[in-house]
Point group: C2
Chain length 336, copies 2
């Protein structure tokens, strides 16, 4: 690769990963490479107040203020930069509601479904729609559809290849996808349930934080979920975190990881029932969490998952190209 192939930082895209609790902004060049990243705590539920402390006449004002705080210098330097956002910024509580698209949905479907917010300064902000999967138990995602597209773009594969892409976190999303788009997805509230059980039930009372992850305790939790006792279900299994402590079989510092293993074990057990353990799995998320999920997948007979780097910026770029917001200049990486 020739370093002179890197273009000068003119043209490109501002990508926004705008969720409930934070805003990440990416300044990408004309090939989609990220030149700079800004993080702000300005989530949709935590927008910055006005400098004078007065309430805003319109809710949109606080979104504009957050955008300018994170991206002002970029827009000042190059006012014509297009802006593309994904995540809860497109929810009913966001800047502008971007209606859900029905899954299955392709990259082009998402690119055609952008919602545009004109706000009188610089270029408009385009918002990626979330996805909805209708049925007896509907499922929704906002932001993860962009992440999945980014993961797909990062791994060349035949058009008919199907992969199971896992995005572990507060709400774990598991998307069945092909290069052309997202076919189907599940949601598991694993991370949020873990946090609620730990902070707000009797299970947390006997727990002590461990200095390092206790993989043996985590593996023990996984094994319970997979054992005959796992058949008793999560509502029963989780009580063992306390009772194994009472009998001295689980130290106070091991209980957190035991509970984590139980919950992730039950999640992966469900995936194995739904998809079979032969699925090709790609994980994208916080590294220690991906490591835990890889351990759980192995227990359930899945192969070693591929680990994808953070993919939202790449997904935003893909959608911006498909929508014609930026020109499809091949990136140096895609020439490798």
């Amino acid at each position: 690769m020739n370093p002179t192939a890197s273009p000068a930082p003119t043209g490109g895209l501002i990508g926004l990963d705008w969720g409930t609790s934070s805003l990440r902004a990416f300044r990408m060049d004309a090939t989609g490479e990220v030149l700079d990243t800004q993080r702000r705590p300005w989530g949709v539920m935590n927008l910055p107040p006005a400098a004078d402390g007065q309430p805003d006449a319109a809710r949109a004002t606080a979104f504009e203020r957050a955008l300018e705080d994170a991206c002002g210098p970029w827009l000042l330097a190059e006012p014509s930069l297009p802006v593309l956002a994904c995540g809860m910024v497109g929810s009913a509580q966001g800047w502008r509601e971007a209606a859900y698209l029905d899954a299955p949905a392709s990259l082009d479907d998402l690119a055609r479904g952008l919602t545009t917010v004109e706000y009188g300064k610089g270029t408009p902000v385009h918002i990626v729609p979330g996805l909805i999967q209708r049925g007896a138990l509907p499922n929704v995602m906002r932001g993860e559809e962009t992440q999945v597209l980014g993961v797909l773009a990062g791994r060349p594969m035949a058009a008919d290849t199907t992969v199971l892409i896992g995005l572990p976190g507060t709400h774990s999303k598991w998307a069945t996808a092909q290069p052309r788009g997202i076919l189907h997805f599940h949601t598991f509230m694993t991370g949020e349930v873990f946090a609620a059980l730990r902070a707000h039930t009797i299970l947390g009372k006997t727990m002590q934080d461990a200095a390092t992850p206790d993989d043996a305790a985590f593996a023990r939790g996984l094994a319970v979920a997979r054992s005959a006792e796992g058949d008793l279900g999560l509502l029963s299994n989780i009580f063992s975190t306390r009772t194994l402590g009472l009998t001295g079989a689980l130290s106070a510092t091991a209980q957190v990881d035991h509970l984590s293993g139980l919950l992730i074990g039950h999640e992966v057990a469900s995936l194995a029932r739904q998809h079979g353990s032969g699925a090709r799995v790609v994980l994208c998320g916080e590294p220690d969490l991906c490591r835990r999920y890889a351990l759980a997948l192995a227990v359930y007979g899945f192969g070693t998952p591929e680990i994808a780097p953070q993919a939202t910026a790449r997904g935003l770029w893909q959608i911006a190209v498909a929508a014609g917001l930026v020109a499809a200049t091949p990136s140096p990486r895609s020439l490798l």
Copy 2:
């Protein structure tokens, strides 16, 4: 029955149902009938402070204070009354730790296992041991063993009859029992998980309290747990409480009961797998909760459960008789 058969209120027993958050005291006559009940908020974790606000030199002092507040007049009138307590008062955080007995355990086993606390005033306090069921996933109970014995005493049955006794609540206990004692039991953290999900996760954000229980929403939750989608597991199913709201299929006031149906449905699904739906079921607990569990049991093919009245006082009486704390005078009710 002849009213003159009721004895005068001399002799008898003081029974204490002493849990984490409250104390209930029963003044029973010499036949085991409850003459008076006192309720106090003096749970093991919420003992009454000294009148002068000074900290106690010994933790036992606060337990004595609570006992005298609830039962002082009874003991003053008849200082020789025996006192028998069950529940968390016998835990490591209680007045005196009453070591767990191993299940299976009979009435006589429990009566032989009492822990005695002498405290220098009146008669000593006897504490019923909790039960522990050892194994890969240990289970424990404190207080419920007494309730189960009370339920058994209330329904004459052949010695080899096996019943499944359900005590729904914060932690649901399901005990397999025969007239001679408790064979085996499960714990489900259903009530506590429900409260944590409602108060401390995104699911609670879109919920509104309903004026009356919404049985249709509850039944819908039960149906999900039993459907093919139920196989996705609780961590996935619960998200539908939110998404059915987003799609307009579930009103804000219906979401609480939908979540309740999902959780109780998964609990009863587990019971059906473990015990088969042919089991003879007796429920003992708060009436609306028993009503919900009866609906859930019906969905899973169980017969109509028997509903037992509150049974802790009766269980304490049975244990007191077996331990020789009181004479086994036949009660009017048992002569019916």
